[in-house]
């Protein structure tokens, strides 16, 4: 009977050879208590004592932790991979290229300030540049908003998983009250815990009765015993158990951490810096353009439309009197040709004096902006704190090149961290599997072992049967 149980467990192991998270089991056989009759001590055979799991607590915990970091990097990388294609500077129509064309159009105009084709081309290049800014800005904004959808999905998943863990807790406690181990239920729960780790950085505590407590690394309880608490996103905030206090700052790691880092840190930082770039361009070009003279000698025109929010559109003088400490938020969105010059190429101010149609001094001054060292604010966003800005001196192109380079470096770093975590997890998995995994060869050997024992035991029954027959046939 005991050997049959062994064969059963072996069968169970073989059947689950490909089940993720399955922990191999083994029957512990124990010889029966010795019966002492007369002077001889005699063994009374075997009994199947317990079925145990080959389970390595330490490695499993480690895997759960690393899973959280891995899925954070994976999620960030997948989004950043998309963002770097938005910046797309390796191709021939990146923002850098449109910038070059914009400056070159000014030089063409400087070569022929009375030329209408040059003026029209400049207007086209300018609106092309504006469109490029809009496009990047919109892509960033859309990606940022998508993060909320992603958050919803991940939070829903988390809620489902924590509920399942709570119900498994209940069943495990019930099953183990009798002293046996609920091996397969524990496997299921470990699987769920790994999934929770993929969503958020969480800590687990096994209680005496076998239930597991789950809380975030900052101590927000998700599961305790047979009870679980839901998270919920409302607007930009995340609430716990319907308590209307934002706890998003306390959540990190896993997919949820990644989505929030992208939504509140990485993407807003790029948007803010893109705004600074657009704003500095608008400001520095408009400043010169406003003072210059159009083909007919008139003056006071803007090339780029002023900020519709902070500037009174009627008071175009704002652009000349403003100090560089200007508010540029949203500049990448509102950058556009001003109504002054739209469809009126003659109003492009190439000259510096009225009545001199061949005057190209302003065009020369504006094209020289491409190599001019400007002070441009660079923003750094950190989730949970106010964004910081620092003035950086450099040309507009350099500023942008640094932005593009940074996103590339971020993706590269994410990729490296991801593959590092992946390698760690693979190794840990190997270690875990070397303890918990099923080896078919081993199971076959066990099968034969139990089979032989069973056959031998059968033979014993046979022998004793024959002996009994012999005894009965005595008369």
């Amino acid at each position: 009977m005991a050997q049959q149980k062994g064969i059963n467990v072996t069968g169970h192991n073989i059947a689950n050879v490909n089940t993720p998270g399955f922990t191999r089991q083994r029957v512990i056989l124990e010889s029966n208590a010795v019966a002492t009759t007369t002077r001889l001590k005699m063994g009374l055979g075997v009994k199947a004592d317990t079925v145990i799991q080959y389970f390595d607590q330490f490695t499993t915990k480690n895997i759960q932790q690393k899973t959280s970091a891995l899925s954070e990097y994976e999620s960030k990388k997948s989004i950043l991979d998309y963002l770097q294609s938005v910046f797309n500077e390796t191709s021939e129509n990146g923002l850098n290229k449109t910038f070059e064309e914009f400056w070159n159009a000014w030089q063409d105009l400087a070569n022929n300030p009375v030329g209408v084709p040059e003026r029209t081309a400049l207007l086209q290049k300018t609106s092309h540049l504006c469109e490029r800014f809009h496009q990047i800005n919109e892509d960033l904004l859309r990606t940022k908003n998508e993060m909320n959808t992603n958050l919803d999905v991940s939070i829903d998943e988390l809620n489902i998983f924590t509920r399942q863990i709570a119900s498994l807790n209940e069943r495990i406690v019930a099953a183990e009250a009798s002293g046996t181990t609920a091996n397969d239920l524990r496997d299921q729960r470990n699987n769920l815990i790994e999934k929770v780790s993929g969503l958020i950085d969480a800590a687990y505590l096994e209680e005496q009765n076998g239930a597991i407590m789950v809380m975030t690394s900052s101590g927000i309880a998700l599961v305790n015993g047979n009870q679980s608490w839901d998270l919920e996103r409302t607007g930009q905030e995340i609430y716990w158990n319907d308590v209307p206090t934002d706890i998003s700052e306390k959540l990190s790691g896993g997919k949820i951490g990644a989505w929030m880092d992208l939504r509140d840190e990485i993407i807003p930082q790029y948007m803010a810096n893109l705004d600074e770039l657009a704003g500095s361009l608008i400001y520095s070009v408009n400043d010169l353009h406003f003072q210059g003279n159009a083909l007919d000698g008139s003056t006071g025109y803007l090339l780029f439309a002023p900020n519709p929010g902070t500037t009174d559109p009627g008071d175009e003088d704002d652009y000349v009197t403003h100090t560089p400490a200007l508010e540029f938020a949203g500049a990448a969105r509102y950058i556009a040709l001003s109504t002054d010059v739209e469809r009126q190429p003659g109003r492009i101010a190439a000259g510096t004096a009225p009545g001199e149609p061949g005057n190209n001094e302003n065009a020369l001054a504006i094209q020289a902006l491409q190599d001019a060292t400007l002070l441009i604010r660079k923003w750094t966003y950190q989730r949970g704190t106010d964004p910081l800005s620092q003035d950086q001196s450099g040309t507009l192109d350099e500023f942008y090149t640094i932005l593009a380079g940074e996103i590339g470096m971020l993706v590269e770093e994410m990729g490296r961290s991801q593959s590092f975590q992946q390698t760690m997890i693979n190794q840990l998995n190997e270690i875990r599997d070397s303890i918990s995994g099923v080896s078919l060869d081993e199971e076959m050997i066990n099968l034969i072992k139990y089979q032989h024992a069973f056959t031998a035991a059968s033979k014993l029954v046979n022998a004793s049967d024959e002996m009994l027959q012999d005894l009965l046939s005595l008369r």
Partner: protein, 402 residues
């Protein structure tokens, strides 16, 4: 170490997909010819490449600018060459006519040829390139030279305290271009103030005149319309709206054939390097009021002397022509040296372009030989891995049990 089945399959999977990913990267590089296909492939290299691309784009534009400048200067040079030829022809005529052997009739027919030369000079002065007058400074939409002298609008000096407006009028009666300057020597309103007039842009001054005296015999009449004749004998007038003059206030009236201005047309030929590509008409053919250096004035004088059969006049015109010729040569040398400079920048630009293109290609382009060698190496590894995987996967104790 105990090896479970899951470990075997998982590790085969991981390793194969890692090699497949490397193969994909190499394939992408070979297919695109670029080492950097997305920002993260090599962020540092990419920023380097972006900088180089920007420099290259600028070089291309500067190259275009230089060519533009060359076309302007080339045309300027050939125009000046023609001016020189015309001056030589005028000298020949003056030389012939300065001797006493020619009759008055012959001189007046020579005068006709001189007028012809003047016409040609005006035409050269009005040379156009793609619809733009190259000798008129910033007034490139307006023909810079007229056949006749005209009185230009009076210009008040920028430092003047006089706040009224000055306008000029009149019919000029002189033969040569003039650059009149009216300078106030005693302040006050019109009628109280005193002034002096220079006919040559301020080099020499006439006597002090009163704006008050309206006597017919007095050489400084004040007219009822608040205008002065400057000087009273040459037909040019300047009128003022009533206001107070201060000592040192100046007004300039140019009487010339030149309608352009004195602005230099500059183009960008490098980062913060600009170059003048034009020559304004006042330099090319002479400044108003500067008779010895103004070829049209010299020829007008010669024409006048020939018509009047004035041999001494012709002789002095010949002397003036002799002195004028070095000016044309000077202008030609100036234009020529600027053309040289442009040629040098052009060569420099194309050299820089070449070296930058090479550097860009080093940063950005795939070394195809190396990429294909890499590809072959990876391919072999991949095949070997596939082979060993199939071998390992077939091994099982199950197969050996009956």
């Amino acid at each position: 170490m105990r090896v479970s089945n899951r470990t075997i399959y998982q590790s085969i999977n991981d390793r194969l997909s890692a090699i497949a990913d490397q193969l994909r990267t190499i394939n992408e590089q070979i297919a695109s010819g670029k080492k950097i296909n997305r920002l993260s492939d090599d962020p540092i290299g990419l920023t380097h490449a972006l900088r180089l691309k920007k420099v290259l784009s600028q070089m291309g534009q500067y190259g275009k600018n230089v060519e533009h400048g060359q076309s302007w200067l080339n045309l300027t040079e050939s125009s000046l060459q023609t001016v020189n030829d015309l001056v030589i022809r005028a000298k020949e005529i003056a030389n012939q006519m300065a001797t006493g052997t020619y009759s008055g009739a012959q001189r007046s027919s020579a005068a006709w040829e001189i007028r012809n030369l003047m016409e040609q000079l005006v035409q050269i002065g009005n040379t156009k390139l793609t619809g733009r007058y190259i000798f008129s400074g910033y007034q490139e939409t307006q023909a810079p030279f007229d056949r006749d002298l005209s009185i230009h609008q009076a210009v008040a000096d920028t430092g003047n305290t006089y706040a009224g407006t000055a306008t000029s009028s009149g019919t000029y009666t002189g033969l040569f271009s003039k650059n009149y300057i009216v300078e106030i020597t005693t302040g006050g309103v019109l009628g109280t103030a005193e002034y002096q007039v220079s006919e040559d842009g301020g080099l020499t001054w006439g006597s002090n005149l009163f704006t008050t005296d309206a006597d017919a015999g007095d050489p400084n009449p004040v007219y009822s319309d608040n205008s002065l004749e400057v000087p009273y004998d040459q037909g040019t007038r300047i009128s003022f709206t009533a206001d107070t003059f201060a000592v040192g206030d100046r007004f300039t009236i140019e009487v010339s054939r030149y309608n352009g201005d004195r602005n230099d047309m500059e183009i960008a030929i490098g980062t913060s390097a600009q170059m003048k590509v034009n020559l304004t008409g006042n330099v090319a053919l002479g400044e108003a009021g500067d008779k010895e250096n103004n070829i049209l004035d010299i020829l007008a004088g010669l024409n006048h002397s020939l018509q009047n059969n004035d041999i001494t006049g012709v002789q002095s015109a010949l002397e003036e022509l002799n002195q004028y010729q070095p000016l044309v040569m000077g202008n030609l040398a100036d234009v020529g040296s600027r053309l040289n400079r442009l040629e040098m920048s052009k060569n420099l630009l194309s050299e820089l372009e070449l070296s930058n293109t090479t550097r860009l290609s080093e940063v950005e382009d795939v070394d195809v030989v190396r990429a294909i060698t890499d590809l072959n190496a990876k391919q072999q590894i991949y095949e070997a891995a596939l082979f060993s995987a199939t071998q390992i996967m077939q091994l099982s104790l199950v197969d050996f049990l009956r």
